[in-house]
């Protein structure tokens, strides 16, 4: 079940598929608007309303329409996908993260700096979002791999 370096395990494929579907949902509204499917477009925007401010000026535009979430949220979601794709090939980083999981916090420092210190742009918001969630993909993949062996799923004997 564990990953062979440089190859994707089943858990990796599940994570890649799930995060791709999530990203497609985020990117779908401008395309649906272009196709004239306004009802579906509004439903998807409504679905993401609780987790993003959805301010147009802070959201990437496709066909002149904003995506369902802002650039930072898009970065956070993209980070999981990018991490799921790249981390199997970054062996030393993966090993270090697994040995010292609190290093996760270091990766979110650029996002907090972006929020507080410098004047942020669409690009810095997206990049810092990607960096913040990129390593989390490793732990989500591990959780998927270890799910069948979880004590909490087994019945009492």
């Amino acid at each position: 079940m564990h990953e062979t370096p440089g190859r994707y395990s089943l858990a990796s494929w599940v994570l890649i598929a799930a995060s791709s579907i999530w990203l497609l949902l985020v990117l779908a509204p401008p395309v649906l608007h272009e196709l004239g499917w306004n009802g579906l477009e509004q439903m998807i925007r409504l679905a993401f309303k609780p987790v993003c401010h959805q301010i147009s000026s802070r959201s990437p535009q496709l066909f002149g329409q904003p995506t369902a979430v802002c650039a930072r949220c898009l970065g956070l979601y993209s980070g999981i996908l990018i991490g799921a794709c790249l981390l199997p090939f970054l062996r030393s980083l993966s090993r270090r993260l697994l040995a010292q999981p609190r290093l996760l916090l270091l990766f979110s420092i650029p996002m907090f700096l972006d929020l507080t210190v410098w004047k942020n742009t669409m690009t810095t918001r997206w990049v810092s979002g990607v960096l913040a969630t990129f390593p989390i993909a490793l732990f989500v993949r591990l959780a998927l791999e270890q799910l069948p062996s979880s004590r909490l799923l087994r019945s009492h004997k």
Partner: protein, 182 residues
């Protein structure tokens, strides 16, 4: 070793936190910052789970975190719905819901919308089903969001709070010789 560690109490604590805070007016805007309240609920659940984790049990793994997060998300989603539903219905009666309906009516004047679709939506709105349908859809998606982000929160929580080693990186090089007998 036949028992399981208690999962319900920490999941309930995390679920109540994420459900109540995400449903309350104004406070729920904190979720716009990386879904902080929902992820926070998951982190809170794993903190309490690991704090009370019996030391004689085998080390908890990230699979446990996923299960804990999913349960936290389900509890949180249900509580979110219980708190948000009356508030949404109240809002619908008091004004902003009506304003949004009026906005939709204006958008329906767009000639690009096919007449059948327009007629269908108008019929739903007149029956009151549209706004209620929107609320139900919103609550269902809140539940999905609650589960997804609470799982991620619980996994992050395990990474931060797990004290015992969860993973031993593979050792490289020759195995050291055993100590000489005393």
């Amino acid at each position: 070793m036949n028992e399981k560690p208690n999962i319900v109490t920490p999941a309930l604590i995390g679920g109540v936190f994420l459900g109540v805070t995400s449903a309350l007016p104004i406070l729920h805007y904190i979720n716009c910052a990386c879904c902080a309240l929902v992820i926070g609920g998951g982190i809170l659940a794993s903190y309490f789970y690991l704090r009370d984790y019996p030391p004689q049990f085998p080390v908890a793994n990230y699979g446990d975190a996923a299960v804990l997060g999913a349960l936290t998300g389900v509890f949180g989603g249900i509580i979110w719905a219980i708190v948000a539903l009356p508030l949404s219905l109240l809002e619908l009666r008091l004004g902003p819901g009506m304003r949004e309906m009026e906005q939709i009516r204006r958008q329906l004047d767009n000639p690009d919308i096919p007449p059948q679709v327009r007629e269908f939506i108008v019929r739903l709105m007149e029956g009151g089903a549209f706004s209620l349908g929107v609320i139900v859809f919103q609550l269902a998606f809140d539940l999905i969001i609650s589960v997804v982000f609470a799982v991620i929160g619980a996994i992050i929580g395990f990474a931060l709070f797990q004290k015992r080693p969860r993973y031993t990186p593979p050792a490289y090089g020759p195995t050291p010789p055993p100590p000489p007998p005393a």
